[in-house]
Symmetry: C2
Subunit: 249 residues, 2 copies
């Protein structure tokens, strides 16, 4: 865990055959931030998990959940660790977004941040962990002022999610194992932040072969009830790699 860096050897200039002097790296602090998305089926809203920072700098301000990358872990492990810490969830959808490295993004030390985004099911995370961290879920249109470039990270994460959702079955990571087509439809409307034609959506999503209709119904939102669906695991794994290309209008 303890891996001190020898500044003497790191900061000296090393000679090089090229015209410019070769300067060995100077230590920079490396953090990860995680844009954690969840879909609230009742409110039919896509939400992001934020928390109130307890340490300086920016103590008391809203922030994405993040952490410094430790010596014994890769960035993705750090992002996963922080996700587990806040939600209790492991091995959920987690993907690297972008590395933000402006010199002055943090007023104190030089810190770069590798942003990730993850998709979780709001039905199955441990709420006491969120409470303990004074974290809360915010819908996209209601994001408070955030520290440094975290607002940009959310914007970029949503763009990446939109891009991904048309190519791969990522959306399903936001829903419980059994879901209805209307639920899926509303989720995609939230992802794309626009109205989608429900009849064409149904056709396109069914044409992937991804969905298996069950014979039970969810009657919480209508008298008729909406059939439950689950996804076909093998088709899901096939399309995760092969991909498709659906534009939702």
């Amino acid at each position: 865990m303890n891996n001190p860096v020898n500044l003497d050897s790191n900061q000296k200039l090393m000679s090089d055959q090229s015209s410019t002097a070769y300067i060995k790296g100077q230590p920079i602090l490396v953090a990860v931030d995680n844009v954690i998305f969840g879909f609230d089926s009742e409110e039919e809203k896509l939400k992001v998990l934020l928390f109130k920072r307890k340490v300086e700098p920016f103590a008391g301000q809203w922030s994405l959940v993040g952490s410094f990358v430790q010596p014994n872990e890769s960035a993705v492990v750090a992002a996963s660790r922080i996700l587990t810490e806040f939600t209790g969830l492991e091995s959920v959808f987690l993907e690297q977004l972008h590395c933000y490295s402006s010199v002055d993004r943090d007023p104190g030390d030089r810190v770069i941040s590798i942003a990730y985004y993850s998709l979780i099911q709001l039905q199955s995370y441990r709420k006491e962990l969120v409470e303990r961290h004074e974290a809360a879920w915010f819908e996209l249109h209601d994001i408070p002022d955030l520290v440094v470039d975290h607002a940009q990270m959310i914007t970029d994460a949503l763009a990446k999610l939109q891009d991904n959702a048309r190519r791969r079955p990522v959306g399903f990571n936001l829903l419980p194992p059994k879901f209805t087509l209307p639920q899926l439809f509303k989720l995609y409307q939230e992802i794309y932040q626009k109205e989608i034609d429900d009849r064409n959506f149904r056709k396109k999503i069914l044409a992937t072969g991804l969905l298996e209709k069950l014979d039970t119904k969810d009657k919480t939102t209508s008298k008729k009830g909406a059939f439950h669906y689950q996804f076909n695991k093998s088709k899901y794994h096939q399309l995760e790699t092969d991909g498709y290309d659906i534009l939702f209008h």
Copy 2:
């Protein structure tokens, strides 16, 4: 330029209201590596610039061009700096790819690398700089063994280039201001590493409205000669942001 990090203040554990101890970041070395693509119109090959490392670790081995990120620069500036150092070119296409951060990717220090890729015109770089750095251009099917994860970076860069080229007019960054349709066609075949139907390609690329036909011809490859084209700057900028979606078959 000199921005020493105070290890005492960085490595101490700081208390936190949460269950897990909050560990402030420990310095990690941050590098950039740049996958520089160029298109050789004569050989009709997409190539990558590599150089033989002169310093440890991995001295003498082939590597992508890279550098440590300096205290006074962001990652993109570092990637741009190294590009200029090796080619003399400034303000060319440069985009972040991915941040590679495996704990053991470098046998010595803990180093993470933010990979970028750039597209340049092989007609207009300064060849003496490439020579001075003992760098050389390699076609994709002829890449030598590379240090650490640089082969993976090239694979990922090509995938990203392929993805980008179907959505935005990035390919043009690899061609001189005046080019012919057969040149453009062969470039896209190289990008996608497959045969494309030339008649459909022509139709799709012309349908974007991006190309302006000139009345001069390039006769180096045929008796008939191929018309020169340039791109419509305003349409280019429009499509850079709006994008399109062309699948090349």
